[in-house]
Amino acid sequence: GIQVEQSPPDLILQEGANSTLRCNFSDSVNNLQWFHQNPWGQLINLFYIPSGTKQNGRLSATTVATERYSLLYISSSQTTDSGVYFCAVETSETSGSRLTFGEGTQLTVNP
């Protein structure tokens, strides 16, 4: 099956700093999503970005499908940005669509 690798696994920042999270995938994908898992476990949709660049406030994402990677940018980080960030890719199987997650990046933003 497809492999999804996220880096770095852990990231510690001071409030106000910028960061880049990376997601590499081993095969062609139909779609790619970024999620933020908050301290209560809820997965929050950040971006649905099979290709190109999107921005939402302090967050932006870029997917280069031909080179099989995606980047999530967080600018002017805040303590509320802490949590785990996941990328997930969708692939087509004979039995339907499958969503595969990376292992996540644990982000800690200190005041």
Binding site: Q42, N45, S97, L99, G104
Partner: protein, 110 residues
């Protein structure tokens, strides 16, 4: 509007007891449905996915099973829970292409 409901939020069950977790969605027809488990640590492991009523694909052979008796209902079951079944269970749906997750059920098997 499109929403997903998952319950209960937390559950403590003794070893050997049965399990039934339910997930229902509203607002669309024939969505793709998924069950994931997140054990201690970070990774989300895909357990089952379904593209339609009665169509279940299993990713990992284990002590769990899934059923989709109705278009918008996805059930995760076990006949006898093991300690290793403890974890955070998440239901997800994909009405078109983007996937959305429920609140999750934190299961502790004691």
């Amino acid at each position: 509007s499109q929403t997903i409901h998952q319950w209960p939020a937390t559950l403590v069950q003794p070893v050997g007891s049965p399990l039934s977790l339910e997930c229902t969605v509203e607002g669309t027809s024939n969505p793709n449905l998924y069950w994931y488990r997140q054990a201690a640590g970070r990774g989300l492991q895909l357990l089952f996915y379904s593209v339609g009523i009665g169509q279940i694909s299993s990713e990992v052979p284990q002590n769990l099973s899934a059923s989709r008796p109705q278009d918008r209902q996805f059930i995760l079951s076990s006949k006898k829970l093991l300690l290793s079944d403890s974890g955070f269970y998440l239901c997800a749906w994909s009405p078109f292409a983007e996937a959305f997750f429920g609140q999750g059920t934190r299961l502790t098997v004691v």
